[in-house]
């Protein structure tokens, strides 16, 4: 006995394509075209979830993405997806779904006891109930609340699917492909304008697919399918189905999510699961339709109580009967359609209960003609039944509640009116306004290039939707500069379907005025009484109400509950609804998984990786890498199994200091500077003098920021007349270039100088150590004797026909050179140097040894150039030329930067044998009394074990450090309870006179 609730025929399902699926371990059948919700209803399964707080049984309230109840866990394993709405899940073969927030089973849920204790769980209960004792906050209360109020459980494995992002530009974006949206698309597309029309459903048509409507003499379904055919054949139109426009941002930037492969079990190889679109339309037409709101009566959350429109959708679109004996309860004309559609599908309609005393005569006559009872001036006061509605009690809307009429039924179709979907309009920065005639909010004055049409504007009449859509399409095309041809003026004609005529009914009286749970927000279990309590406790503004009760804060964003909540709040305050206002809607309109925002940039692809030309050699030679910005640099080179970081950098340092070794310095920023004013430009950038640097020489320079703080350092070489070559630190390669661009373009445009980055063009190799000259003499074609090529010399050279540039500069403090070769020859040059030096036992060294040697030599680097230090603090003030202007000069003379007591760079030696220092350690005089940070006199910036000195050394910033060499102090690291006694010393630990580099 499967699918016993299918209609005999009809619906947009394919009855020739049965689909087998599982819910809570039980196997069911549905058809292609079903949603999980419609297929379960076809099988008579209405109980879908337990509510968030009270664990009450819940069924399907809607047939769309606004459903507050029908959230399930979809799929299993790594594709497990919690909190997915069964009303939007397209059925596929092998689908597995499970209910959430219940134990041990959906039908018997132990936590339903919360329903009994509900007085303890009133509005803001978590602010009131779980207060004492404090020790219970994390150990008891949080554990309890998390367990009780859980939603689904996320998968712990990595998501195996692909997600991506895409951009689209158009003249007109239409959000929603119902009748209004289609009319807009047709009108705009006919002019040649670029049109994108998006709809969250797999079919376009919107309400046409769930109603029995007629356009141009055809059924609405047929008409929509024909327009789909026409639109999808046009080059200037992109029809995006399964795509929800979820965000409206500044400058008409729109975000949409395309569920490319959510309707299959596993996407085909290479295919993406979901795609995030950023769309840049000139104009937006919001044709997002409207959402029906339920009537608010006692126990209005029971399975079997649905929105009247959802009942029509289940019957007309999915061919399923949501019940056998139905009551339709309404405050407007629209819900009468539900009675006719139910009747048409063979469902017994026991009564239409209309809260209005004087219903539409025409509709009354139509009901009478098919013998459906019409009850006026009454409404459903309560629904009764255990896990499904069994009967209703009707009460008079005039407050007469003492003799409720009982009617047995298994389906209540409820309509409290329609709320235009003003979400995107509100996201655009506009303010929706209350419209009395429809008792809801409609779009207000536009703040961006958008307009709403049709039901989204509060026009519920089909012909109005078509007319408004058409007009908006024409307008958008005109605004984008397209000519409207006469034939584009034809608007489709709809068959008249009567008027809407709502008389608001916000909360129903209860039978005998007893206390009932009357739910407003079913997803967060917020009742009428919670809103009333919040107002009484002073949370009577709409924003406070929302936060205090959590109304509208669930994954459905309160689509079915917001207006009802506002109305109840207004009633409590005694104000009209417009006085209370509405909250601001924020993206996303529907829940969007984070994975699609990340797209491909996950795992190792999170950031691009920059690799030097030596990278592959480094990989082959077991280098251990370290990230330096986006660069991957070799940190050290293990030679055998078990080699530690310490083993390696000490060995590499020793071979450099004692012999010769190579390091890849490609990552340093390199800037080519040319022009007659190049020397003057450099002279203004750097603090030292650049006007008289001869060709063939390099000079070390330091530059400041405008505010006088040290910015960057490096060498710049004079290659030929008016041609210079600057190097920067790795970290500041781009900032220095933009600093130069800024000053050249805005401050000194008169300087005739041009420059560009050549970082990528050159591979940089430093050859350091007492034997470096001997090694280079074997391979280079130029004389590099100390006389011919002294310290700071620069020249062009050839190595095996590779033309490069040689610089005699040193970061290690040893006799050293830097060789630059064009990058495509980088690895070749590197391996040839190693080959040539084999008999000398040349080795490579990584950034760890590089860092060790720079500390031993006392060179400041990024850890000291931290944006807070001046050149004086760094001990470089002697370089500054007081007789010229340079960037930052004036501000570097501010009193605060010159006064005593500033932190200055010094060196430290560990006085405790075998104990190294720690970066970030604070420097204190007397660590015994350490009780506040105010005692800190500075900190360690960089540390190493010094193979040359045989002890732990460091650089650091110490108050008045320059005058304290020879003193002792404690370096403390309270987090690890560490304390090391250190001697303060000059920051240059080896060769203070610089004899080695000049040898």
């Amino acid at each position: 006995m499967t699918q016993q609730f299918r209609t005999a025929a009809g619906g947009l399902i394919d009855r020739s394509r049965p689909i087998t699926f599982q819910f809570d371990g039980k196997t069911y059948q549905g058809f292609h075209g079903d949603t999980l919700a419609s297929a379960l209803i076809a099988n008579g399964q209405h109980l879908i979830a337990r509510s968030f707080k009270y664990h009450r049984p819940r069924g399907f309230m809607t047939a769309g993405s606004e459903d507050p109840n029908a959230i399930v866990q979809l799929r299993t394993g790594s594709r497990k997806e919690p909190n997915t709405r069964a009303t939007t899940i397209e059925l596929f073969d092998g689908l597995e779904a499970n209910s959430q927030n219940r134990w041990p089973s959906l039908a018997f849920d132990a936590m339903a006891i919360n329903n009994v204790f509900s007085p303890l769980l009133s509005a803001g209960f978590y602010y009131k109930t779980f207060m004492w004792p404090v020790s219970f906050w994390t150990s008891v209360y949080e554990v309890f609340i998390r367990k009780a109020a859980g939603l689904g459980v996320a998968a712990t494995e990595a998501d195996p699917d692909h997600y991506e992002q895409c951009h689209e530009h158009c003249d007109l974006l239409i959000a929603g492909a119902g009748p209004a949206g289609i009319a807009a698309a047709l009108a705009a597309a006919a002019t040649g304008a670029r049109v994108v029309i998006a709809d969250e459903h797999p079919l376009i048509g919107g309400s046409l697919n769930s109603e029995r409507l007629t356009i141009d003499g055809k059924s609405g379904v047929e008409w929509a399918a024909e327009q789909m055919e026409i639109l999808s054949k046009m080059d200037n139109v992109r029809v995006m189905t399964r795509t929800t426009v979820f965000g409206y941002y500044d400058h008409n930037t729109m975000a949409a999510i395309e569920k490319v492969n959510d309707h299959v079990a596993i996407p085909a190889a290479g295919q993406v699961r979901q795609r995030m679109w950023t769309i840049y339309p000139k104009r937006v037409v919001i044709a997002a339709g409207a959402t029906e709101r339920p009537l608010t009566f006692g126990n209005n959350d029971k399975p079997g109580i649905m929105l009247a429109s959802a009942v029509r959708t289940y019957i007309n679109q999915y061919g399923v009967k949501p019940g056998t004996r139905a009551i339709v309860t309404t405050n407007n004309n629209d819900a009468y359609r539900t009675a006719f559609d139910l009747h048409n599908a063979g469902v017994q309609v026991l009564a239409v209960v209309d809260s209005r005393p004087n219903p539409d005569e025409h509709l009354a006559a139509q009901l009478a003609a098919i013998s459906i009872r019409l009850i006026t001036g009454k409404t459903v006061g309560s629904a009764e039944g255990r896990q499904h509605v069994a009967y209703v009690q009707l009460v008079s809307t005039d407050g007469h509640t003492s003799d409720p009429e009982r009617i047995d039924c298994d389906l209540i179709a409820s309509s409290g009116g329609w709320n235009p979907n003003v979400h995107l309009h509100s996201q655009s920065g506009a303010k929706p306004v209350y419209e009395d005639s429809i008792a809801s909010f409609i779009p207000g004055i536009s703040r961006q290039d958008e307009s709403s049409v049709g039901a989204a504007k509060g026009s519920f009449h089909l012909q109005d939707c078509l007319d408004q859509g058409h007009a908006a399409g024409v307008d958008a095309a005109k605004m984008a500069g397209f000519k409207v041809k006469p034939k584009a003026k034809k608007v489709a004609t709809a068959k008249d379907e009567g008027t809407y005529a709502i008389e608001a009914l916000w909360v129903s009286p209860t039978p005998h005025n007893k206390s009932y749970k009357q739910f407003i927000d079913q997803q967060n279990d917020v009742k009428v009484s919670d809103v009333e309590l919040a107002a009484q406790e002073g949370y009577d503004s709409v924003e406070l109400l929302k936060r205090y009760t959590t109304q509208g804060m669930a994954t459905d964003q309160g689509k079915t509950s917001n207006v009802n909540a506002l109305a109840v709040l207004a009633g409590q305050r005694g104000d009209p609804v417009p006085e209370v206002g509405t909250t601001t809607f924020r993206p996303p309109y529907v829940p969007v998984a984070l994975g699609v925002f990340a797209g491909h940039t996950v795992g190792n692809d999170f950031m691009p990786i920059r690799r030097t030309a030596i990278h592959d050699w480094n990989v082959k030679n077991n280098a251990v890498f370290i990230e330096a910005g986006l660069w991957l640099r070799a940190r050290y080179y293990p030679q055998k199994v078990g080699d530690t970081l310490d083993d390696c950098y000490i060995r590499e340092t020793n071979n450099t200091r004692g012999n010769v070794a190579l390091v890849d310095v490609t990552t340093l920023g390199k800037i080519d500077i040319q022009g007659p004013d190049a020397p003057e430009f450099l002279n203004r950038l750097y603090i030292n003098n650049w006007l008289k640097l001869p060709v063939g020489r390099a000079r070390y320079g330091a530059m400041l920021r405008e505010d006088g703080m040290a910015f960057d350092d490096g060498t710049t070489s004079h290659l030929s007349e008016n041609h210079f070559f600057m190097t920067t630190t790795t970290a500041n390669a781009a900032p220095v270039l933009s600093h130069m661009e800024y000053y050249h373009q805005t401050v000194w445009p008169e300087l005739d100088v041009v420059f560009c980055s050549v970082t990528e063009q050159w591979t940089g190799i430093a050859i350091a150590g007492p034997n470096s000259r001997k090694l280079l003499e074997k391979v280079l074609d130029i004389d590099i004797s100390n006389e011919a090529f002294p310290f700071m010399a620069v020249g062009e050279c050839k190595m095996n026909n590779i033309t490069g540039r040689l610089f005699r500069i040193s970061f290690s403090g040893e006799l050293a050179y830097e060789l630059n070769v064009p990058a495509d020859f980088g690895e070749q040059a590197w391996t040839e140097l190693l080959e040539a030096g084999k008999e000398m036992n040349v080795s490579s060294y990584g950034t760890e040894a590089l860092g060790t040697m720079r500390i031993e030599k006392g060179h400041v680097a990024g850890s000291e150039l931290d944006g807070r230090t001046t050149v004086k603090d760094l001990g470089l003030e002697g370089m500054a030329n007081r007789n010229k202007h340079f960037i930052g000069k004036h501000n570097s003379q501010r009193p605060g930067l010159l006064e005593e007591g500033r932190l200055q760079v010094v060196g430290f030696k560990s006085l405790e044998s075998g104990r190294n220092l720690r970066i970030g350690a604070h420097l204190v005089d007397d660590s015994i009394k350490l009780d506040s940070v105010s005692q800190s006199q500075g900190h360690i910036t960089t540390t190493t074990y010094s193979p040359s000195l045989g002890c732990g050394i460091a650089l650091g910033l110490l108050k008045d450090g320059a005058s304290r060499h020879g003193q002792q102090i404690d370096a403390v690291f309270p987090l690890d309870d560490e304390k090391v006694r250190v001697e303060i010393c000059h920051p240059v630990f080896i060769d203070p006179k610089g004899e080695l580099v000049r040898a």
Partner: protein
């Protein structure tokens, strides 16, 4: 000093992909490395813009563009506007180009070799535009971006020079160090078209 009998060095691409062999090759989409390139940046000194543009035009026989977003090409040479005073000239490897340009512009401009610093790939086929749309926020509709158009912008979160070659082909040039990450990212977005 070494003896001088060595052979000419061989340029090694950061992509280690044999020239002309496609990275992606499927119905309607091809992603391949451009052959080893010569890329020369020309930066005009103050008030020399017109003269430099004329000199480049004369030296190369390709109209040097003077407006943003334009790349003029002839045979394998592409001359692209890359800034208010600068261009990049790209062609298949030609060791004489640097000297030729230096000669042409004389003291009016700086001429800087970037051949080893740029890596070129070509994306072509009916799906090429879709792949571009996934990685770049520009509008590649033929009414707005067509053959001969260029842009310096972010592609797959990396700085790139885009040159549209013909209706269905784009040349993309990125920094050498980023070449592998770049190709990897583009390859990802080709996957949906690369049916087995």
């Amino acid at each position: 000093m070494p003896n001088s009998t060595q052979t000419a060095p061989v340029r090694v691409s950061p992509l280690l992909v044999i020239n002309r062999e496609a990275i992606v090759d499927c119905q309607g989409l091809r992603l391949e490395q451009r052959p080893t390139l010569t890329a020369i940046q020309v930066l005009a000194f103050a008030k020399q813009f017109d003269g430099v543009a004329k000199a480049i035009t004369k030296a190369l026989g390709v109209e040097c563009p003077t407006k943003p977003g334009v790349c003029n090409s002839k045979d394998s040479i592409q001359v692209t506007w890359t800034g208010p005073n600068n261009w990049i000239v790209i062609c298949e490897e030609d060791d004489s180009l640097l000297a030729k340009l230096k000669m042409a512009v004389g003291k009016k401009a700086a001429v800087v070799d970037q051949s080893h610093g740029r890596c070129g790939i070509r994306l072509s086929g009916v799906h090429a535009r879709s792949v571009m749309a996934k990685n770049c926020a520009l509008d590649f509709h033929p009414d707005f971006f067509k053959a001969g158009n260029s842009a310096l912008t972010s592609v797959a979160h990396m700085n790139a020079l885009i040159i549209q070659v013909d209706d269905e082909s784009y040349d993309l040039f990125v920094a050498r160090s980023l070449a592998r990450s770049f190709v990897h990212a583009i390859e990802h977005s080709c996957a949906e078209f690369a049916k087995a």
